[in-house]
Symmetry: C2
């Protein structure tokens, strides 16, 4: 279900808690699109926070969390999922009446469950922009990160008109920074993302870790010959370790379920290799092309199909 | 061990057997660098061959394999590994005296073993350019594919001066199209590439296949949310199925060995998720960053670290 267009959106003061890749990108996108009069920043990492200020990502640094939240009509919790769950329970006293509160995490069930206990006088709308890079920190943020990407909202089961208006405002905010917005329930989100994001990261981390452990092939060789396929995995395996630890700790069931499917399929291919069953191998390998074509056609791949062809022409 | 520079290299007639991505790229690179007076093409797929001719990738089409080989001082076998093994046994009668014969396959042990039986009057130098894209066919080729990539040679155990001169000529050819050349034994090649190329492809094919099988998450959703990590796998999972079938059938032992390492590591992470062992997860996830930095520093990743930032500025 796609939410109806809620029209122009504007905030008088946005509080951003967590000025890493996602928080700083959203701040830059809001500045570029003039979506707020002021951005107040807070981060447990004081050094990251002062760098964000120096970069112009936030207008003002708050001395503490309550100071960041005071008077903000938009609160963005851009922290790892574990911290977000805690924050949702702690900010109740300081958030302004009728404020919109969003998070940006890759797991929604655990966060929505924590948010369900929050007071009704402000409106928590769990959000997940499906976008990112392997970089971290305020310097890594850029305004176009969310453009042409999907943002999934998993609203709490609240029926008040004020809550529904807040969901519309959250959708309008994400659209204003270039995203397509989808609304679904948190459990389905967590399963879909276990497939499209969590399992791929787990596999990439595993592959890179296993290569690092080999005594028979030196790291220098792995680097040299990484163009054979390995390097495609290292991009996502370079993602933030704490963020990903929290994802797996908070989406355990869905990840273990899709991981079970993966290991089943892997066992089939392992057996096919062992028994020289070329037919099973070729048949399985053929399936990749259709889904790749669909991803390129849907504009979800910024690399052109002729990957690497152009930049070497000069 | 790096082979000494053999100076300028030139051929009077190059025969290219197989005008797919790698064959047509090497043809284009040789034309661009004026490394041959003429290129004669042959391909079991007559349609691909006539398209290659129309594209100017080959100067002339041979009616049959022997016609392509006759009078060529360079023979390039750019076919899947299974076909290459067969071809090496079949071309003995038609190849000119003292001709250099190279292949381009991703497995070297099986090809070198077949080549060891070839007559000594021509010189087979097994070659593997570690470069490629997920595209196939003569249209997919481009001259800069091999630039700044590594090409691994695994010479036969032949000690004649004429064979050594042929190895130097092969190295000079690959350098002339922009590659760095490394010489190693075929068994080590097959293990190193099992890690950096074969296992990553197997894992990517498996992941995409497993996603394709799910009843609970629709393909449309997988495509939409692929920016979460999944799309990084689909590029290599879109690679040529026949080429990859042959790789796994011909590098069975090394692939099964590194696959064993991978599944061990995966079992450790699976258990860490099940038992909420965040410390093991974070520790493992931290290892990805170092190797990613090394790959970017070595110029083996054409994407800049600020991935996706630039092309959206306009």
């Amino acid at each position: 279900m796609t939410s109806p267009d809620a029209g122009p959106v504007h905030f008088s003061r946005a509080a951003i808690v967590g000025v890493g890749l996602i928080g700083s990108s959203l701040a830059r996108a809001m500045i570029e699109n003039r979506l707020t009069d002021e951005i107040v920043g807070f981060d447990a990492d004081a050094d990251a926070l002062s760098r964000a200020h120096a970069l112009g990502v936030v207008d003002r640094i708050a001395a503490d969390l309550d100071g960041a939240l005071a008077g903000a009509d938009l609160v963005i919790l851009a922290t790892p999922v574990g911290a977000t769950k805690t924050l949702i329970g702690e900010i109740g006293g300081a958030v302004a009446d009728d404020a919109l509160v969003i998070d940006v995490g890759s797991v929604k069930g655990a966060v929505a469950a924590a948010g369900a206990l929050s007071p009704e006088r402000f409106h928590f709308v769990p959000s997940h922009p499906v976008a990112g890079t392997e970089q971290s920190g305020p310097e890594a943020g850029f305004a176009s990160l969310f453009r042409d990407r999907w943002c999934i909202l998993t609203p709490l089961p609240r029926q008040s008109e004020r809550y529904k208006a807040a969901v519309d405002r959250a959708a309008a905010l994400w659209r204003a920074v270039g995203s397509n917005v989808e609304i679904m329930d948190a459990a389905h989100h967590d399963l879909a993302l276990a497939v499209t994001s969590h399992l791929p990261h787990l596999i990439a981390f595993t592959l890179v870790g296993a290569a690092d452990d080999l005594e028979t092939v030196a790291e220098a060789e792995i680097v040299k010959y990484s163009a054979g396929g390995f390097r495609d995995f290292t991009r996502i395996a370079a993602s933030d370790p704490v963020m990903w630890r929290d994802v797996f700790l908070n989406n355990k069931e869905a990840v273990l379920e899709v991981l079970g499917r993966f290991t089943e399929e892997l066992a089939v291919l392992q057996r096919a290799i062992r028994w020289s069953d070329g037919e099973t191998l070729a048949k399985t390998f053929t399936r990749g092309r259709a889904i790749r074509r669909a991803i390129v056609a849907a504009g979800q791949e910024r690399d052109v199909p002729n990957f690497g062809r152009d930049e070497k022409k000069s």
